[in-house]
């Protein structure tokens, strides 16, 4: 018997999908949508010689029903006509049950009909587990062989081929396949009582071809960890700073991007509320969220079936827009700009970022450092942001003291703290380079793949310390 691909399997369910949407409408929904997802993925980890290999193959549907501001959401793994119709009935029953306690608003939705195929060349589903594990073990081996002070290695790999159909009662029917692959290396080095770590990740919306170019994340992370054993503790005080694309990207995502999410604006927890069209940063600063880039946060359509587009959130210091979905876009009168994402079929879409970064500027890296004295931050380790005030602290992976444009001491445990709305005015130069880091963002209990990045940037007068 000929095996049907998951794509064929889902594509044959159009009648069942339309029946489910009709059921929701007939039972009183003003609007209903469905996401039917089929996914196949592998995750592998190797930690100090131990391996764990997991595979998954899942099928499920999530349905929302809308009634004058009330949403009911239901999901099911029974994706035949009966299962999806029952799911639609539960969604509209919930919307009706909570209708009286909902903020009242109406929504406007544009309809799209499209098929989006992946551009991945080597689909992970067509690569053996042995080959994937081979790549992971190669990274582990190269990290260990890099230096005898490497004390612990953790290499992770995961991929997914996600086929989804998003349809709604307004006529949207989008059939999209997304592929994502990522590998991460976290390497520890030890000398005496001092222990340092290095990290490197590589991931985007390609298939296994991503790892065929000798992506040596293990060795790179090991080199960083070992080199930090000889680094000095960072000084503390007020300094001018240069941020590499990893750290500037985290700033774009954590400190600015989350504040630009429209649900935070509506709930009154964002420092950007009421600041549209206002100048909140220097002329040098432009921040973009662009899901159309084939990076780790890529999506052709968002999880409400809206075609995605590049969004300039901040342009030359002026706040242009927020990230919106159907609900928040309607409530704020901005319309949706395709920023709804859900972790999986079993979670409702919420406003999320995708690939968020500082637009490149005019400077070469050497020009950025010309005459500069301060701290040059490299990479991101961890940190936190207080959304209601915009205060953030980020610890970098490593740093360098810079004197008159020359790199001097290699520094460890360097962190910078600032207020988002203040530091945006203090960015005075951005390089013309652009690079990205893949990552995972958590919000509302949902994890989504994202990219952060941008250019190197120079900032005046920030608080530096160790955490």
């Amino acid at each position: 018997m000929e095996m049907r691909s998951p794509m064929q399997e889902l594509s044959e369910k159009r009648d069942d999908i339309e029946q489910a949407l009709s059921t929701a409408r007939e039972r009183g929904a003003q609007f209903a949508d469905i996401r039917l997802e089929s996914s196949e993925g592998t995750s592998i980890s190797a930690k100090d010689g131990m391996t764990k290999i997991n595979s998954s193959n899942e099928l499920g549907a999530g349905i929302r029903a809308f009634l004058e501001g009330a949403w009911g959401f239901a999901y099911t793994t029974q994706v035949d006509r009966r299962g999806m119709t029952d799911c639609a009935e539960r969604a509209i029953s919930l919307a009706k049950a909570v209708y009286e306690r909902a903020e009242k608003f109406s929504i406007e939705v544009s309809a799209f009909e499209d098929t989006v195929k992946t551009t991945a060349q080597r689909l992970p589903t067509q690569v053996s587990i042995a080959d994937k594990l081979g790549y992971v073990l190669q990274q582990e081996r190269e990290a260990k062989e890099m230096d005898k002070r490497v004390s612990s290695t953790e290499i992770g790999y995961s991929d997914i081929v996600l086929h989804k159909i998003i349809a709604n009662s307004e006529g949207t029917y989008v059939d999209e396949t997304v592929v994502r692959s990522i590998a991460r290396a976290m390497i520890f080095a030890k000398e005496g009582a001092l222990r340092q770590s290095g990290y490197k990740a590589k991931g985007d919306s390609r298939g296994f071809e991503l790892f065929l170019d000798g992506a040596d994340i293990g060795r790179t992370a090991a080199t960083q960890a070992v080199s930090l054993l000889d680094a000095k503790p960072a000084p503390s005080g007020q300094f001018d700073a240069v941020l590499d694309p990893s750290l500037s990207g985290v700033f774009a995502h954590e400190a600015f991007g989350h504040a630009a999410e429209a649900d935070a604006i509506i709930s009154g927890t964002s420092i950007l509320a009421g600041k549209l069209t206002q100048k909140i940063g220097s002329e040098a600063v432009t921040i973009v969220d662009d899901p159309t880039l084939l990076s780790y946060g890529y999506m052709g359509y968002d999880d409400e079936g809206i075609q995605t587009r590049r969004k300039v959130l901040l342009e030359r210091g002026i706040l242009q827009t927020y990230l919106t979905d159907i609900e928040t876009g309607s409530r704020l009168g901005l319309g949706t700009n395709g920023s709804a994402r859900a972790q999986r079929y079993d979670a409702p879409p919420i406003v999320r970022m995708s690939n968020t970064f500082f637009e490149p500027g005019d400077y070469a890296f050497d020009e950025l450092l010309e005459g500069f004295s301060g701290i040059y931050f490299v990479g991101w380790q961890y940190g936190y942001t207080t959304p209601t005030t915009g205060m953030f602290t980020f610890k970098s992976r490593e740093a360098y003291a810079v004197e008159h444009g020359e790199l001097r001491d290699h520094l460890r445990d360097a962190a910078l703290s600032a207020m988002t709305l203040e530091i945006l005015h203090k960015i005075n130069a951005i390089t013309r380079t652009l690079s990205f880091d893949p990552g995972t963002c958590g919000k509302g209990g949902q994890m989504t793949p994202n990219t952060t990045g941008g250019a190197y940037m120079r900032v005046s007068d920030v608080v530096v310390g160790g955490i």
Binding site: I53, S55, E58, S93, V98
Partner: protein, 210 residues
């Protein structure tokens, strides 16, 4: 389908999955589950989310010479899960501490985990319970209900392995909770009370007092 029928179905799926395993080479374990859930959450008296889930799936662990491969899949894709877990067990490194999957033994039966009343609550009733939780605290104007919610679920599981372990389990759960705050005259929040009540009583007795 009753929960006992559901258990039997899940166990049959586990058994069918393990029949695909060559026990002269591999040890295998299958765990199948099915669950229904409903939850609703209010924030400051307004609905924040209402959700209902119906899901099932199977997880397969295969061991070859101490190397474990795992795969999980929808119940329609059991064969895939077994094949992938076998491939993973062949590729991975052995865990030197692994001895064996457990042999069949008598396991204690835990009773009283299933409540038909909870199991039969529909989505509208659960949503109304969440609203009732919020309203039940309106005994004093100084109390502001920040969050309140209710959730109800039922599940059935089955587990089997290639050494004859074979068991099923079902249960119901229900919870409701709230966070209430009082405000002082300077509008600073003075007291925060969170309550999570695991329900072991009949819904008609669910009353909440702050």
């Amino acid at each position: 389908m009753t929960h006992t029928e559901r258990e039997a179905t899940l166990l049959e799926i586990c058994t069918r999955a393990l029949a695909l395993v060559d026990t002269s080479i591999y040890q295998g374990e299958a765990f199948a589950t099915h669950s229904n859930s409903v939850s609703a959450e209010l924030e400051k008296g307004k609905i924040k989310s209402s959700q209902s889930g119906f899901e099932s799936g199977i997880g397969i662990r295969i061991f070859k010479d101490g190397s474990m491969g795992y795969a999980h899949a929808s119940l329609e894709r059991v064969e895939f899960a077994v094949k992938q877990a076998i491939s993973a067990s062949r590729a991975g490194r052995p865990d030197k501490d692994f001895k064996s999957l457990p042999p069949a033994e008598r396991y204690p039966i835990v009773s009283g985990t299933w409540d038909n009343t909870i199991a039969s609550l529909d989505v509208s009733t659960v949503a109304q319970l969440a609203i009732d939780v919020a309203d039940a605290s309106r005994i004093d104007k100084r109390i502001e209900i920040v969050n309140s919610g209710a959730s109800v679920g039922r599940w059935s599981d089955a587990i089997a392995n290639t050494f004859g372990v074979s068991g099923t389990d079902s249960g119901t759960q229900a919870a409701r909770g709230k966070t209430a705050e009082t405000a002082s005259s300077t509008r600073h929040r003075g007291v925060s009370i969170s309550m999570l009540i695991r329900l072991e009583v009949r819904p008609e007795r669910w009353r909440c007092v702050v």
